[in-house]
Amino acid sequence: MTISNMQLKMINHELEAIVGREYVTRPEADRAIYSVDIYWPPRLLIDRGKLPPLPDVVVQPGNVEETSAVIKLANLYHIPVTPWGGGSGSQGGIMPVYGGISLDLKRLNKIIEINEISGTVTAQGGINGYELENALNAAGWTLPHYPASVHSATLGGYLACRGSGTVSTKYGKAEDMVLSMQVVLPNGDVIRTLPVPNHAAGPGILQLFVGAEGSYGIISEATMRLERLPEVRRFRSFLFPDMHNGLEAGRNIMLDRLQPLVIRLYDERSTIKTVRRVLGQDVSSGSYMVIGFDGFEDIVSAQERRAYSICEQYGAEDLGEEAGRNWWEHRYDFYFPPKVLDFPWMFGTLDTVTTFDKLETLYWAKKEALEERYKEWDLFYYAHFSHWYLWGVMAYDRFIIENPPEDPDEALALHDEVWDLAVKVNLEYGGVINEHHGVGLKLARHVRGQYGAAFQVLEGLKDTLDPYNLLNPGKMGFGPPR
C-alpha cells in the first residue's frame, strides 16, 4: 500500500500520540531489519544488494491498550499491520509485503504471574523466550518449549506459528501448553479466550488464534502450563542398522507410552555426517538416534530400561551417554554462525508430519522426487525425525543447493519450485504443508490447496474478523488488503 507523504505525516502524529514519539520510527536505516527473518528470499535480496519490501513505519506499543489503539487507527486509514516478535521465523511471516505498519510487540514483555498452585505462567506476548525461561527456572519451573529460536523468539511468536521445541515429544508443542490468551482482534477489540482449554462450553476459540500467525489477531498475553524442573535428565545414543529399524523402534517406544523426552533419529546421510562430527567415528551406513528421558530417577530408570530393550530388539548398537549429553549441551551451537546454514547456499527445511504408517513412504517419495527433478542443481536431501507423537512423527527434512543461480529472480523461482514440489509430495502422501515452522509467506499459496473445501471456514472467519484484510496481509492464503 502506498501512503502519501502528507498522509503519512498526519498518521505519524496520531501514532505518536498513542505510543509516544520515541516509539514511532521512520528512517530506512531502522526499517530495513524489519523485513528480514530467517526466510531465504529476503536474505537473498539483501545478499544481492537489494531490499525486500519494507514497512512504512515501525510502531512499538507498550501495552495492550496502545496495541488496540494502533490497530483501530490502522482500520480507520486502511493501513496494513504486520506483527513483529523476535524476527526468528523461517517462513517470512514478518515480511510487510504490502508496507504499512510493522508492529513490534517486544515492549509487551512482562511476566504477569507465576501461579505456583496451578503450575502456570501468564506473560505478555512480546516477552523473549530466553528471558521467560530464566525467570521460570529461578522459581523452580520450566516452560518445556525449547526451540532453536529460544534466544530470539517471543511467547506470542511461539503460539502464532504453532512452534515446537526439542522436548516436544514428551511435553507437547506450544499449542499444547497454552491455557488461555488475550488477543487484540483486527478491529482493535481486546478479547480473552476461556480460562481453561478443555471444557464442554461450546466451540473452542483459543485454537483459532493459535497458528493464525497474526491474521486473526495479535496475541498480547498468554497463560501457559509449566513443568517442575526434573530431578534427572539423561540421554543416550544408538546406531541402528538402517532407518527403518530406527523408525520401528521409535514407533514402538511411543506406542508403549514410555514418554521419552526426545527421540532424534537421523537418516543415513545425516548419520554419516553426524556420527563423524560428534563421535569422531566413520560409518558408511546406519541410522543414528539420540534418545532422552527426564523426571524422577526411579521412573526414568524404568522407562530407559524398556526403551533401550526395544532399541536392542531392532538391532541397535549402544553408543553410550556421552554423545547424547554432548548434543543436549551443544544444541544451540548449530544455530550460531559459522555453523548455521547460510549463503551462498540455497536451503530450506521442508518439514511435514504424518502418521506412522505413511511416514517412510512419504520420506522416500520426497527424496526421490526432489533429487530427480533437481539433479542438475545437485540438490542434497537429508532428514532427521525429531518430534514424535503417539500416532506419528515429523520428518525434519532439508534440502541444500550449494550453487544456486546468481540472478535473484532465477534463484527465487528455483527456490519456490523446490517448495512447490515438496509440498505436493507432502500432501499426496498424507502429510501437511508444515509441522512447526508455520506458513508465513513461504507457504501461503499452498494453504487453500491443503484445506480444499475446508478453507472456506478459515476464509469466512477472516472475512468476519478482518474485512479489510489488514492484519498480516498476504499470508495464510488470504490475499492482499482490500
Binding site: N134, F336, P338, V340, D342
Partner: protein, 372 residues
Amino acid sequence: MSYLEAHEKELYELRFSPMCKPAAEVANLTQLESHSTRGRVMMMWRIAAGHLEWGEREAELLYETTLDSISEAFDVFHYPVSQYMLDARAEVWEAGLAPAAVQGAVEKAKESSATFPAPESVDGVLVLAGEIGQIARHEYFSSVLEDVLQRVKVAASIWPADCGALAYALGARQEAQTQAQQVVERISDLGVKEIIVDGPETAWALLKIYPALGVNLPQDTKISLLSTLLFEKGGNFGEISETVVYHDSRPAYLIAEGKPTHLAILPGYLEDENQFGEGEVYEAPRRLLKLMGAEILFGSWTRGLAKSCGADDGIWLTHPHLAQGLARQRLEYAKSLGADQIIADSPLCAYWMAENATGGDPSVRWLPEVLG
C-alpha cells in the same frame, strides 16, 4: 580498504543471526530491532559490501549502543563484535560523520585532560586513574583511593590521566593516539616501572588500546589491577554482612583471559560461575569480598556476560538517557536478586549507578569504599 571492508567476510557470516538478542543491552532497553546486534551487523555488512553508504541515521545507530562486547561474549563462537564496532566508529569519525554529541564528548575529554597534569615525580608506584579522571566527583574518589593505599602502606602517586580510552571507544583514533603518547612519554620521563590502574577501563587502555595504536610502554613496565594489589597486600578490611551483587564492567571482558562457554547461554544454566568467563579481572575483587565474608549473589548476567551499566564506551556522555536506562536496569536486576548492595571495582561504574539510584535501590559502592 576501509576499516569495515577488512571485516566483510565475518560480517557476512553474522549479518542475519538473531541469536545474541538476550544480550544486547540497548536493544533490550528500547526494544527497537535496529538496536539489536543483528540489525547493526546487517547494516555494517551492507556498507562494507558497498550496498549502502554511511548516512546520518546509520552513523547514529553506531553510537546508540555500547561497543556490544556482550554480544561477542554471548556468541558461542565469539566473533569480535566489539572490534567491528570500534572500526566502524573509526570509519565514521574519520569521514566526519560522527554525531555532534560524540564529537562534543571527545572534545570535552581533551579539555579536561589538561585539568590533571602528570605528577612531577612519583613516590612509590604510579596509580593511573583514568576512570576517576572522567568523574565529576573525582576528588572524592581520589581521596578514597589515597585512603585505601595508605591503609595497605603502599606509597603511590595518583594521576587521573585521560588515557585515551574514551576517544578510542568513540572512534577518534588520532586523538586517542595523541593522548596515549602523552601518557607514555610522561611515564618514561618519570622512570616508572610499576603502574596500578584504578579500574578495568584504564587497564584496557594500557593493555589493549596502546598496542593497537602502536604506542608502547617502557619495557618491563608492570601493570596491576588495584584489587589485585589490595589482596596481595592483605590486611583486615572488616566484614560485609549484607548481600552483594558484584558488577563486572564491560571493559573487564576486554581484558579477561577466558570467555563464556557454550554452557553459559543455556537458558537457566547456573551451575558453575567460571563458565561465564575467567580471569584475574573477575577473580581479584571477588577474592577480596569473600575475605570480608560477603555473600555474593549469583545471576547469569555476570563476568563476561555482565550487562553494561551505561558507564562504558562513552555512551553515558553521548546518549545519557540511554545510559540512565541501562543503569536503572542494573539496579533493578540487583534488586531482583535480593541484593543489599552493588559493588564494582570500576569507579566509573560505581559512580554512574549511584547517580541513577533512587530510594529502595541497593546501595552502590566502589570496591575501595567498602574496605573498612
